[in-house]
Each structure stands twice: as structure tokens, then as C-alpha cells.
Amino acid sequence: MSDHAASASHGAAVRHGTVPNAADVDFYHFKGRWSGIFAWIFSTDHKRIGLMYLVLMLTFFTVGMTLGFVIRLELMAPGKTIMDAQTYNAVFTLHGVIMVFLFVVPGLSASLGNFLLPIMIGAKDVQFPRINLFSWWLFLTGGLMAVTALFTGGGPPDTGWTFYAPYSIRTGTNVTLAAAAVFVLGFSSILTGLNFLTTVHRMRAPGMSFFRLPLFVWALYSTAWLQVVATPVVGITLVLIMVERSFGIGVFDPVKGGDPILYQHLFWIYSHPAVYIMILPGLGAISDMLAVHARRTIFGYGFIAMSSVAIALFGSIVWAHHMFISGQSLVANFVFSLLTMIVAIPSAIKVFNWVATLYKGSIQLETPMLYTLAFIFLFMIGGFSGMMIGVLSVDVHVHDTYFIVAHFHYIIFGGLGFAFFGALHHWYPKMFGRMYHQVPSKIAWFLTFVGFNVLYMPMFIMGWEGMPRRYYDYLPEYQKWHVVSTIGSWIMISGILLMFWNLLRSLKTGKPCRELDPWGGGRTLEWTVPSPPPLENFDKIPTVTHGPYDPDVPEHK
């Protein structure tokens, strides 16, 4: 690896006219105003904030995963297995709320996005570093409120993560505080989006035109628009739920003259784009990982970049496909089913271009590459099953069954989850200056990938056979598939735990890895700065002269 690193370092010198000063301390060792934990929680450095998000999110992920594990245990057998119905309803609600609002929505964007975005565009930090820190504090506050909701009031919420009215208005559980938590988390998301938008528009290095942005940045940029535009809607909706619960004003409850369908519209106007907020950064990270590990330029860069924008755009106008059997009009169903089909097209374009990027590459199956290939496979299954449920007549049958549960786990977990794990390994040496241990990381990948399919594939079959979702108890005929699925969850979770253990252990025992570009194929700007980067990333702001995945000496010109 070191010879590649040397050549990359040489290349960087040619490109930027400066040799990174070895005496520069990295951002971990920079002595600022604060020390100890305060050096973190009061830091406005985008790298520290990104890592703080990472720590919080992985903590919440572990909690959410434990809840998922408990759900699968309960469903091993019909009837009561380990908990009663009320507890089960609370557990799947919390699993959804935590995974959606505390892990996948902030997701890659707030954690690795924060760390990498400024470096990738050649900036010293984001445009508003203090607001960035404030976003993290809001995230922490929202997360703590959500946790508090479990132990106070009338018990943990039992509405499902969708908070559908009128049930959410009538239940005696602690919905108000949970909704308030999501409201606060929404602000964190909006501010991060605003920050990233401004940063991409205002802080690109000289020569870094929009079409020289790495694809991860394109994806973060598209995501940021969604965060800013869509999140306020869910904020308002949840305020209306709180007002209705507290003061009895009839907005959504028909007994008081409200409209429950209105709630569903308002909820999904945010929460469908939120699915793209979750997945888009993953799509971007996949493109970057492919280019590095195949050591070649991206096939169809412009098409992948524009498909991110198209997904963000069309993804914003398909929300009512969650409501095909809710009782909305036939015209609405026609329009929303058609628009849903259109979103499939940019997703397909991405997949084709990714596969073509492997052509005539020089592929090394490093762990991030394994996650990337697994991602493409799982994302395709998620996408194809998405086409099925976007089609009206099929949705009449499979709506609100395990088919849907399988579909969105393939997209969100198989998609964003695998992209996230891959990205963690891919940028691990850049963030920590050490390499993870290779062998356990590959075993962990294998267990996670196999376990994932054993866990979620049976859900497609169960769903098609009519097993409704959010069921505490079920008919014995479904048990065989539930048992397979539960066994899958054990395989997958052991893989994930092995991965976490390996990544944590490698912080101390991993091989020191100080090369600028440990992969020997990195052409974007983060591979031209030291690992870990110094406080302000660049000694001197670089001047960009070519596309993000082109070699330093452009051969094609």
C-alpha cells in the first residue's frame, strides 16, 4: 500500500503545489480552548461533530437493534412467548422511532457527511460551524426526550412510528413527549441541511465546479434540499397532534370534526421524502467506494449525479402511495402510482452505471467493496419489490403485510445500512489513522449479509400469504417462516456485533495507517490530506483542475 500512497502523495503535491507538512498535528491532538470531554461537546470542528454524531447514532442503533432482536424472539411462536401484547406494541413502536428518527434520518449525512463534506469540496469547515454544533445538541436533546418518553407518562408510546390518528390521539401512552422529541430532532435535521446547502454553494475550492463534486457530495446536496423542504411539514403535523391531545382541538379526530386522512397526507409528505433522506447519502457513498476500489473513474458520472437530483425531486411527490387503500380517490391513486413508477427509473440508472463502473476496473475485494457489492444486490431486491407494491392492484393485497416490512428493510437496512457499514470501513483509516483488522471485518460482512437475507426474505413469502404487520399473535400456519426469520436475526446480529467489536478494537490495536491514500485508488480530495486530517483540513486551499474521479495527470485529454 505504501508505494501507492507515495505516488498519491506525489500527485497531490503536483496538483496543489504544496506538500502536506508532516509536523502538522491532526485534529485529535490540536490543543484548543477546552480539554477533555469539553474539547468535544463544545467543538465547532466539523470532524469532531461528525464523530460525535457517529457515537450517538451507533448507540441508538444498538438500542434499536436490541428491540428488533426482542421482536423476533417474541414472534418465534404464536401467542405469548416472552412479553404481553402491550409491551410488544411499545417495542415495535420504539424500534421504528429509534431506527428512523435517531439512526437512518441523520444517518450518513450527519455523521460521515459532516466529517467528509468540507474536505471533499476543499473547505476548512462548514459554512456555519456553530449552528452545526447546535444541531448536534438538538439531536442529543431530542434523543434524550425520546428515551424519557419510555419511562414517564402513561408508558411508552404504542402507536407505531407513524403515529396514525385517531389512535395516536386516543391512546393513554406517552405519545405527546415522543412527538415533541421528533419535533426537536426535525430542527436538528433542518439546520444540518441548511448548513450543507450553504456550504456546497459557497465554500467550494477554486475550480471545484458543481460537475466536479464527488458523487457523495451530490447525494448529500440533494438530501439537504429534502431536509430543508420536507421536515417542517412533519414538525407542524406533530405539533397538531400534541395540540389535539392536550387541548382537544379536532384536527384529525372525526369525532371532533377532524380528518384522519389529512393526518396521513401530512405525515407522508415528510416521511416519504424522509426515505430518500435516508437512502440518498448511501447511494452517494456507494459511488465513491466503487471508484476507489475499482481504481477507475465512475461510469456515467453526470447520469448518477442527476439521478440523485431526480430521486430527490420525484421522491417528494409520491407520498400518497402509502395510502392506496386508505380511502383516497381513484384519481389520487392513479397519479401517485404513476409517479411512484417514475422514481424507479433514476434508481435503475444508478444501478446500471455502478455495474458498468466495474467494467475494466482493477477490483480489490476490500471490506468496503464487499459491502458495496452486497448493497447493489440488496438494493435491487428492495427496488423490484418496491415496483410491485407501487402497482395498485398488487398493493391492495400486500399493503400492511410483512411484504411491506420486507421491502423497506431491504431498502433502508440493505441499502442505507450496508452503505453505512461499508462507508465506516472505507473512511476508517482517514478518520482514525489506523486500519481495521481485515479478517474479522470480512467474517462480519459475511454473517451480516447471509443473516440479513435469512431474516428478511421469508417476510416476502409470509406477506404474500397474508401475514399482516404489527401483529403480536399470528396463526400457526405462518410459524415456519417466523422461525426462519428469527434464526436469521441471530446470524445477522452476531455479524453486526463482530463488526462493532472489530472497529472498536482496531482504534487501539489496528495497524497505524498514516498514508494519505491507504487504498491507493482515491482520487477525491479527502485522499490528499493526512490521516487523520489536521484541524483545518488543508494547509492551503487546493485548486481543482479536473473531475473528481479523474487521475492527476488526465490521460483522456
Binding site: 461510469f299 446500471f352 466495474l358 476496473g361 482493477s362 477490483i363 400492511d400 404489527r470 403480536y472
Partner: protein
């Protein structure tokens, strides 16, 4: 899996076969190419990569083909959906009411039942309403489903069953504690059997009325027991003292209860008037420690039925 048990089956089976078939071919094909490239262009075999920036013709091809497929899928599904939403002339209508956590089916002659009885080979239209929160009427075997939404009166589904038998009904929209227990059955029977069933049930309605009017206690509580089952009362009220979502019937009559009336706690003795009011205006007096979840039964029980149910509760000491 691709069974053809109702008129709706084809509208679902056709599109899913078409889409799943196309998907499997594409999934296998793309994955195979991906694996081939990964092996063929592994660094050992291909140490020197080639930078290829794209190919306009390829981009057009793989934009146009998915577009055509996507529109094809959509259209096929839309045609099926139009069929699902078009009720044939002369369909038999049944009113279906969902509430936490049971379904009630009401026929044109006033008969009510917890499970649905329909004649084979005859279109049936179910008009769906909800009394409290969202529910969804789902018959997996017939591949048909529709939400019941409080406040929206004109929601429906229809089907024509092709084979006699008993089929499962689920509630598919999450509705709280006993969501997974909110199920029912569809009994598909011959036309003759159906008419016989309807006649016998109709006579029961008359029996209850007569028994209530003549005040025959013995008979009345047995009729009340049948009513309590068919109206789904026991989903929330146990008869053996178990605490469910509502107070148990066992030992209820004559008991002194602490209730919350308009925010104030007070003590009452459970009598005929209290039970009657608890059915028609359940939120007036909420027994302390319970949630105000019961929907009003106004229009769903008549006076004779109230008397029969009260007699039944009285008998459970």
C-alpha cells in the same frame, strides 16, 4: 400462492407474475454480470484499470427500457385496480362495522353476526365503517383489502367467492392492544345454505325481542350470551374476572364502582340504567383506572338487545 379463490385474484396474480418474472430475470442477470466483472477484472488479473467515462448509447438504452417496463407495470396494475373498484350490478350488500377489536356484519334483514356468511359465486359488496380508529378489512385468500376510516361513510370492497369453505379475515391497519386478535371468518356456503342461515338468524332476532318484552329471565341471558359473542363485547370485557381493556362482566352487576364523570370521581352502583348508558354513551362514566376507549353502540344495539345483554351480565356473578 397464486390461488384463484375469488374474482379479485386474477387482478393481483397477473401483475405480480409479470413484475416478479421481469424482476427475477433482471436481478439474476445484473448480479451475474456484477460477479463476472468482479472476477474478470480482479486486481490480480487486471492490474491496470481503464478509465471509461460513459457511453451515451448505453445510457439511453438503460433509461428507455426501464421506463417502458415501469409504465407497463403501472398500466397492468391500474387495469386490475379499476376492476377491484368496480362493483358488479346486483351485488349483495353487507354493512361491516369495525371497532376495537371486532367486526360486526349486518345483513339487509337486520341480522348481525361476528363472522361473515356469503353465498358462493355471487358478488358481495361490503360497506365498511369504523366506530373509533382506523381498521382494515383484509381477506388474504381473496387478495382484497380496504381500510375502514371513522367519519368516511362510503368505503367498500367487493368480491365473488369461487369455492365454498371458511376463510380468514384480518384487521390489517394497526388499531391498538388487541389488533392481532381482531379477526373474523368468511363462511362461503351454497345459496341454499346461506338462505337457511339467514332465516335462522332472523328468527333469533325475533326471539330476543319477544323474550325481552315478556321478561323471561331464563331465556334472556342465554340470548344475551350469544349477543355478547356476536357483537364482539368479549374482546374487551372478560367473563371470568380477567382484567382486559375494559372491566370484567364477572360480578359487575350490583357492584359499587368508582367512576370518573367529567373529571370528577364518584361512586355508583352498577344497575340496569348504568349498563344501558355505558353502552350508548360509554365516555360519560369511565371506571377508574381504564381508558375512555369504548365506542358508542348507539344504533348497533336495540332496546331488546340491551335487556338481553344486561340479563347476561347479571347472570355472571
Amino acid at each position: 400462492m397464486l390461488s384463484r379463490l375469488s374474482s379479485i385474484s386474477d387482478s393481483v396474480n397477473g401483475p405480480i407474475l409479470f413484475i416478479a418474472g421481469t424482476s427475477v430475470v433482471m436481478l439474476v442477470g445484473i448480479t451475474a454480470v456484477m460477479i463476472y466483472f468482479t472476477i474478470r477484472y480482479h486486481r490480480r488479473r487486471n492490474p491496470h484499470p481503464e478509465d471509461i467515462h460513459g457511453h451515451r448509447m448505453l445510457e439511453i438504452v438503460w433509461t428507455v427500457i426501464p421506463t417502458i417496463l415501469a409504465f407497463g407495470f403501472f398500466w397492468y396494475g391500474w387495469e386490475g385496480y379499476k376492476f377491484i373498484k368496480t362493483v358488479p350490478e346486483g351485488a349483495m350488500e353487507v354493512q361491516v362495522t369495525g371497532r376495537m377489536w371486532s367486526w360486526v356484519h349486518e345483513y339487509e334483514n337486520g341480522v348481525q353476526s361476528a363472522e361473515l356468511y356469503v353465498p358462493v359465486n355471487k358478488p358481495v359488496k361490503l360497506n365498511l365503517v369504523s366506530q373509533d380508529v382506523l381498521h382494515s378489512y383484509y381477506i388474504p385468500a381473496f387478495k382484497v383489502k380496504q381500510d375502514a376510516v371513522p367519519g368516511i361513510p362510503d368505503l367498500f370492497l367487493w368480491f365473488e367467492a369461487y369455492q365454498t369453505g371458511v376463510y380468514q379475515v384480518f384487521c390489517a391497519e394497526y388499531c391498538g392492544l388487541s389488533h392481532s386478535a381482531m379477526w373474523s371468518k368468511v363462511h362461503v356456503v351454497t345459496q341454499d345454505e346461506f338462505e337457511e342461515w339467514l332465516r335462522v338468524e332472523g328468527e333469533k332476532v325475533v326471539q330476543i325481542q319477544q323474550a325481552a318484552e315478556s321478561g323471561e329471565g331464563e331465556n334472556l341471558h342465554i340470548l344475551g350470551e350469544a349477543l355478547s359473542k356476536s357483537k364482539g363485547c368479549n374482546a374487551c370485557h372478560s367473563i371470568d374476572g380477567t382484567r382486559l381493556i375494559g372491566p370484567t362482566y364477572k360480578g359487575l352487576y350490583g357492584k359499587t364502582e368508582t367512576v370518573v364523570t367529567g373529571g370528577q370521581e364518584r361512586e355508583i352502583v352498577v344497575d340496569d340504567a348504568y349498563i344501558r348508558n355505558s353502552m350508548l354513551k360509554p365516555t360519560d362514566d369511565i371506571v377508574k383506572g381504564y381508558q375512555p376507549l369504548m365506542p358508542s353502540q348507539e344504533g348497533l344495539v336495540n332496546e331488546s338487545e340491551i335487556k338481553a345483554l344486561t340479563a347476561y351480565i347479571k347472570s355472571l356473578q
